[in-house]
């Protein structure tokens, strides 16, 4: 039922070195510069950034609503660069668009509005009826099938618009400020339903928004500033890391933004059971946060090794050597299979340097230890 079948193995979006200008010659203004981003299938991505950051332009480029000027975008394996207008139209039939305004026809009922999106596809009247009813019911509008938009609430209208966007089982859903006109509860409803349905249909979702209330719905948040990606983070991981490192005395008092920066630079490392993660006497090079598993900390004093602690997920280690520029003062060994988020020494120190009360923090930390 999805129009021309998309290759099953291709990633949703692979953008490489995408730049875009408005105007030409002297008055040309660059809105995007060398954007590269890779979006696997099934992710729910929120793209955010100040107005004028180019996020909407990027959205319209990915949505085949504008022609690429520089760089390339692979759309489920199809290169968008150099497509004719006709080919762009065909690409767009794989996309569900949701806009800030619902853009529904006031003269058509909820059901008829959803139909408009189904008409382009070869379905029998019966199939169209069933699909429209099914979608609207899934979105909680079973009792409102034959209502005109004028008789629906803002949240209900936006849900009809979502039903319309989902009607043709799109591989990609592009949403522009879908909750801007909605109150808090409607926003949550709308975004959760969108997420849920996108999950059921294995659609990839890209939402451009300023709305902080819905940030946690995303798998990944991409931040654009002045036409460049200023951050790109996976939400669960970042939340997890922030939640624990904010308890770490070194990072205490850091703003959430700085914590997020730190979290972004942490890498996932895997250690089989029994591996030594840190050996006493080595030069310290990484700071670790345990994501999964258990480690033992042992200290060797005068040839006698004694276990001093066991650390579990959410605990961290390895910061002292980095701060003091000293060798490791203990050995850390994986007891089970262990995964840690670790930060290199350079990143660690850089993060701390950016932190205002660095000196105090160092002193404080050393005092506590």
């Amino acid at each position: 039922m999805t129009p021309p079948a998309l290759p099953a193995d291709a990633d949703a979006i692979i953008a490489r070195d995408v730049s875009y200008h408005f105007g030409s010659g002297e008055s040309a203004r660059q809105v995007l510069g060398n954007i590269s981003v890779h979006i696997p299938r099934g992710q729910v991505i929120i793209m955010t950034g100040p107005s004028g950051s180019g996020k909407t332009t990027l959205l319209t480029l990915i949505g085949a609503l504008r022609s690429l000027q520089q760089g390339s975008i692979g759309f489920f394996g199809t290169e968008l660069r150099g497509l004719s207008l006709q080919q762009q139209v065909e690409v767009r039939r794989n996309i569900g668009f949701i806009f800030q305004a619902h853009n529904l026809f006031e003269s058509l009922t909820a059901r008829q509005n959803v139909h408009m999106a189904l008409e382009l596809h070869n379905l029998t009247v019966h199939e169209k009826q069933r699909r429209a009813e099914q979608l609207l019911s899934d979105l909680g509008l079973a009792q409102r099938l034959d209502y005109h938009p004028g008789r629906l609430s803002g949240g209900q209208r936006q849900r009809v618009a979502i039903a319309r966007a989902l009607a043709n089982n799109p591989a990609l859903i592009l949403a522009d400020e879908p909750t801007a006109a909605l109150d808090k509860d409607s926003s949550r409803d709308v975004i959760n339903l969108l997420k849920q349905l996108a999950g059921e249909h294995q659609s990839t979702v890209l939402i451009v928004t300023h709305d902080n209330r819905i940030m946690d719905a995303a798998d990944r948040i991409i931040n654009l500033t002045d036409g460049a990606i200023s951050s790109d983070m996976e939400v669960k991981r970042t939340l997890y890391i922030c939640q624990f490192i904010k308890n770490c005395p070194i990072f205490q008092g850091m703003s959430l933004g700085d914590l997020t920066d730190v979290a972004q630079h942490m890498e996932l490392q895997y250690f089989p059971s029994g591996t030594g993660i840190i050996r006493q006497g080595d030069l310290g090079d990484r700071f670790h946060l345990i994501y999964r598993g258990t480690v033992s900390v042992s200290v060797n004093r005068n040839g006698v090794s004694s276990n001093v602690a066991e650390l579990k997920s959410g605990d961290f280690f390895g910061e002292v050597a980095l701060l003091r520029e000293e060798p490791r003062n203990a050995t850390v060994t994986a007891i089970t299979e262990v995964e840690t988020y670790s930060l290199s020494k350079d990143q660690f120190l850089a993060a701390l340097r950016n932190h205002k009360s660095f000196e105090e923090q160092v002193a404080g930390t050393l005092f506590i230890r």
Binding site: T56, L59, T60, G63, L65, R66, V89, E90, R92, R93, I95, G96, F97, F99, A101, N103, L104, F105, E106, S107, L108, Q112, H115, M116, A117, E119, L120, H148, R164, A165, N168, D176, V208
Partner: protein
């Protein structure tokens, strides 16, 4: 098909607006009907005389270019024509303008007097098969009851002065006034001579306005015409009744600027209609810019949207045409009452205006084409 249905739903959603739109279109439709009505009314009025002639071929003076002019030719020529092979029988018709004194207020108007032989009238009067036998009685006339009101209140039995004679109305018929004469009367030859008794009687009796010939069954009108022209001196011309009627209708258009005036009026009405309709469409598109752009975003093409807009235009045209037609019926009646100009609505003429109305819708949609093509879904963001 669903796009046409969508167009319909868009139209009927806003009822007050639809009503207003229909009335605007109806306004343009009525103007078009009026222009066409006046134009046809003039032509039809001018051609009314040709329609009542009972003849296959009509002889007239060579220079006579319409039936309301007064050129005459010799009755001898007509009698000679009766001998030409193919001609079965014939009648002749005198016609001359005279003055009629209004029996009520004594005012004077010009009308056309037709002189006939009551036994062989050569006229087919519209309506019932009226017998013209009463005209055998000298001093009686048949009066065209659709003559202008200025001629007075005339009925059977009314007496009035016509030319040199005192006449009594013995019957009525329907013909209609036109721009040359305020009315018509029919008189028997005897009465006709009395009305024009100031003229030379011999000459009066000889000079006829039309020679009416009926052909034998199966005779070819064209061939007989040629034979007539070949056999007889060339001071007359001959044409079939259909040719005559066509010439009469065209005469007003040819001889006066009314064709240009009302033709131009029709074009102006059409243009007004296009402007009105385009304005309606423009607003309709303007109000649905975001919806149309959304459709474009999800894979509709300009031609799909164009189909919606064109459907709206044509549906609106038809919806406006109907009240326009209804209003036209009423207005035509009123105009006929007031001016005695024939305002006749034939199915062909209704279809012609319907065609112009649809053309108007299509043209206004074509003007909106650019607006639809220019719609850029990227602007939605």
């Amino acid at each position: 098909m669903h796009l046409v249905v969508t167009a319909w739903r868009m139209l009927v959603h806003n009822r007050p607006r639809l009503l207003l739109s229909c009335l605007s279109i109806a306004f343009a439709v009525v103007i078009m009907f009026m222009q066409m009505g006046f134009f046809n009314g003039l032509n039809d009025s001018q051609a009314n005389l040709a329609r009542i002639l009972d003849a296959d071929l009509v002889m007239s003076h060579r220079d006579k270019d319409n039936l309301k002019s007064t050129e005459e030719f010799s009755r001898k020529r007509w009698r000679q024509a009766l001998a030409v092979p193919g001609v079965e029988s014939g009648s002749y018709l005198y016609a001359s303008a005279s003055y009629w004194w209004n029996p009520q207020d004594g005012s004077r108007n010009r009308l056309l007097v037709l002189g006939i032989d009551p036994d062989n009238p050569g006229l087919r009067l519209p309506g019932a098969a009226v017998s013209l036998q009463p005209l055998k009685q000298p001093g009686t006339i048949f009066y065209d009851r659709r003559s202008r009101k200025e001629l007075g209140n005339v009925d059977v039995g009314t007496e009035a002065t016509l030319g040199q004679a005192r006449v009594r109305v013995a019957g009525l018929f329907d013909l209609g006034a036109n721009f040359s004469y305020e009315g018509h009367v029919i008189a028997g030859t005897e009465t006709f001579f009395r009305i024009f008794s100031q003229r030379d009687p011999q000459r009066l009796a000889d000079r006829i306005s039309l020679g009416l010939l009926r052909l034998q069954p199966g005779a070819d009108a064209g061939k007989v015409s040629r034979q007539l022209l070949d056999a007889l001196p060339g001071d007359f011309t001959v044409m079939t009744r259909a040719q005559l009627e066509a010439r009469e209708k065209a005469y007003t258009t040819r001889a006066t600027p009314v064709g240009i005036i009302f033709g131009l009026g029709l074009v102006v009405a059409l243009v007004i209609g296009i402007i009105i309709c385009h304005q309606l469409l423009f607003n309709e598109i303007q109000d649905h810019l975001r919806q149309f752009a959304t459709l474009k975003a999800i894979g509709y093409q300009a031609r799909h949207l164009y189909l919606i807009v064109t459907s709206e235009a044509l549906l609106l045209s038809v919806l406006g045409f109907l009240p326009g037609l209804a209003a036209t019926f009423a207005l035509y009646r009123a105009i006929e009452q007031l001016s005695e100009i024939v305002m006749h609505l034939s199915p062909g003429r209704i279809l012609f205006i319907l065609f112009l109305t649809l053309l108007m819708g299509a043209a206004s949609a074509a003007l909106a084409l650019k607006q639809v093509i220019r719609l850029d879904p990227a602007d939605l963001f």
